[in-house]
């Protein structure tokens, strides 16, 4: 059986250096966006989804677990942050913390349930759990059902950063994204990440070597869910609303698509994929449901011909891990 990434390369100091260079270029490019005249709202939105896709990729790309319910972390953190900001009138930094804490709690509960089954069952369970939450949020009073939580105040972060100014907000979101990205990068290259990869490649063997693989997968699930929640909390400041679309299964599907397009198990792939898919939605918005058809076609094409994804193909060509 071929695993998801059948030609992973060992992490060498040289590979680490390459990755740091690419990271520096990416950070510089993103930091210069406000000076280029590119619509910052679009980039901010893409950054939130990029962080979400990176968090998702931590689970599938390095743990071999395909979650089809990552929207539940995005949406839960979004709702809780939005509620904290609007109803409790908390400052932005605490609002984000509330969202992250909610996603953390949710990932402990859902991880405990879903990690009991492997492979295809794990995907179906995460999908069913997120649908369960969708119905709960549909009926719960604090989410305001179909309307969602709207008109969320952006406020002043740490009392000084005025988030209603687009440039300030942009850099706050960018710093949040880069911090999350570096954390994931660190996790992947840690001893914990190495064990996770060994579980992905051959779980039986990892067990025979004495690793409690369930605990590793559980921890990976919690890290992934919490980071996805961080993305959801940041997104609240960009979109200024929290709605049911963020919890719906279509959103979970989009996250999968972003990561697949960019490259499962690559470090930069989810970022590229998120920008590509968000850009496509932006430009094709007038085509209505054809966007769904195009997304479906991309899924089919990627799975049949392009399983490594954009970054995966580049990395394969240069024999580097990116």
């Amino acid at each position: 059986m071929t695993t998801l990434t059948d030609d992973t390369l060992p992490v060498t100091p040289r590979a680490m250096r390459d990755e740091m260079i690419v990271f520096a270029v990416m950070a510089l490019l993103l930091a210069s966006v406000p000076f280029t005249g590119v619509y910052p709202f679009f980039v901010m939105q893409a950054l939130c989804f990029a962080l979400l896709a990176c968090a998702f990729n931590l689970l599938i790309g390095y743990g071999g677990l395909l979650s089809f319910g990552h929207a539940m972390f995005l949406g839960t953190a979004g709702y809780c942050s939005a509620h904290a900001l609007k109803v409790w009138a908390l400052p932005p930094e605490l609002g984000i913390l509330v969202g992250i804490a909610a996603a953390f709690a949710l990932s402990i509960v859902t991880g405990y349930i879903s990690i009991r089954r492997q492979g295809i069952y794990f995907s179906m369970i995460t999908l069913a759990l997120s649908q369960l939450l969708y119905f709960i949020y549909l009926q719960a009073p604090f989410t305001h059902g179909e309307d969602g939580i709207q008109g969320i105040p952006q406020g002043h972060m740490f009392g000084v950063l005025d988030l209603s100014k687009p440039t300030v907000l942009y850099y706050v979101v960018l710093v949040g994204f880069l911090a999350g990205f570096l954390l994931i990068f660190r996790i992947i290259n840690s001893p914990f990440g190495e064990v996770l990869k060994s579980i992905r490649e051959n779980e039986q063997r990892a067990i025979s070597l004495g690793y409690r693989t369930d605990q590793y997968k559980f921890l990976a699930f919690i890290l992934s869910g919490t980071l996805a929640g961080f993305a959801g909390a940041l997104k609240v400041f960009v979109a200024q609303n929290a709605s049911l679309t963020d919890v719906h299964w279509t959103m979970s599907g989009e996250v999968v698509l972003m990561t697949l397009v960019g490259g499962l198990g690559t470090i930069f792939g989810p970022v590229v994929g998120a920008f590509a898919i968000i850009a496509m939605q932006q430009y094709l918005a007038s085509f209505g449901q054809w966007v769904t058809v195009i997304q479906g076609s991309i899924f089919v094409i990627c799975v049949l011909t392009f399983r490594r994804g954009v970054i995966g193909e580049i990395a394969h060509y240069f024999r580097r891990s990116l």
């Binding site: 059986m1 998801l4 089954r117 999908l127 054809w290 799975v303």
Partner: protein, 287 residues
């Protein structure tokens, strides 16, 4: 009491659809090692084919009951030949992703032409009206759906567990290479199996057309519930799928009567409970 029986009947009908769909999923998974995410979209296609047959060709419900599964089944076999067969030997997850993509395409195309609202499909004349059973009023069509689904489920069970063809099928599920060595065309059997599973989904679609209206997204949410049913029941046993499907439908119907707020979520909650108590599912083997 009337309301309770009415909800029980609704539960049995939903249970019929759960059983037909999870049965198809189990059969397909056994042979192709693929969880068919497109199952909901193909169920929807079944209903639409019945609608087209009636409104464009003047072909009635009874013929649709036969023709729609065949047409959608052929469509499914084309999908299997052109796409799914290339996934042999790859991780199971790719099958899920590919069929998810197919589901998005099919649902997106239908949504473009028919929007999201429902199209009516009339109950055939022979099945109109109702019967007074003394304790409740039974609309004939609803009773027909339950009985007919049950018969189809049992026939499928018989086909797979008791006939020569079913024996080949079960053998090929266990060890396809060995079965090929005996001169049986396993790739063709795989294609036919996919057609059979998809045909069952389409049949459920035709049955549901007069009850639930014909909508492009009628299968999208249903398939997620069916996934939960499959997690609860496991995919190891045909009879297990049938029983779990009907039982969960009944439980859902009872919930609608006693605690309507939870009727959307009860199947998922049960899935969580089953996973906590017996992680392998009620009938399933460890996977």
């Amino acid at each position: 009491m009337q309301a309770l029986y009415a909800q029980l009947l609704v539960g049995l009908i939903n249970g019929s659809f759960y059983a037909l769909l999870s049965l198809g999923l189990a059969v397909i998974f056994g042979m192709l090692n693929i969880i068919n995410f497109a199952h909901g979209a193909l169920y929807m296609m079944g209903a639409f084919v019945a609608y087209f047959l009636l409104n464009l060709g003047g072909i009635n419900y009874w013929w649709a009951l036969l023709l729609a599964p065949i047409i959608v089944g052929i469509f499914g076999m084309i999908l299997e030949r052109t796409m799914l067969q290339w996934l042999t030997g790859l991780d199971h997850l790719y099958g899920l992703l590919l069929t998810f993509g197919i589901a998005l395409i099919v649902q997106g195309v239908f949504q473009n032409y028919f929007g999201s609202s429902g199209l009516p499909y009339a109950i055939p004349d022979q099945l109109r009206g109702g019967m007074n059973l003394g304790f409740m009023f039974l609309p004939v069509y609803r009773g027909w759906v339950v009985v007919f689904s049950l018969v189809v489920c049992l026939a499928t069970w018989f086909l797979i567990e008791k006939t020569q063809l079913g024996a080949y099928l079960r053998a090929a599920t266990e060890n396809p290479t060995l079965v090929r060595a005996f001169g049986i065309n396993v790739p063709r059997m795989i294609t036919l199996t996919y057609g059979l599973g998809v045909g069952l989904a389409a049949l459920a679609g035709v049955l549901s057309a007069p009850i639930n209206q014909v909508r492009p997204l009628m299968g999208a949410d249903l398939i997620i519930v069916v996934f939960a049913v499959v997690v609860i029941g496991g995919m190891g046993s045909i009879m297990g799928s049938i029983i779990t499907g009907f039982a969960l439908g009944v439980i859902e119907g009872l919930t609608k009567y006693f605690y309507p707020e939870a009727s959307n979520t009860v199947v998922f909650v049960l899935m969580v409970l089953v996973l906590l108590v017996k992680p392998t599912g009620l009938t399933g083997r460890a996977a």
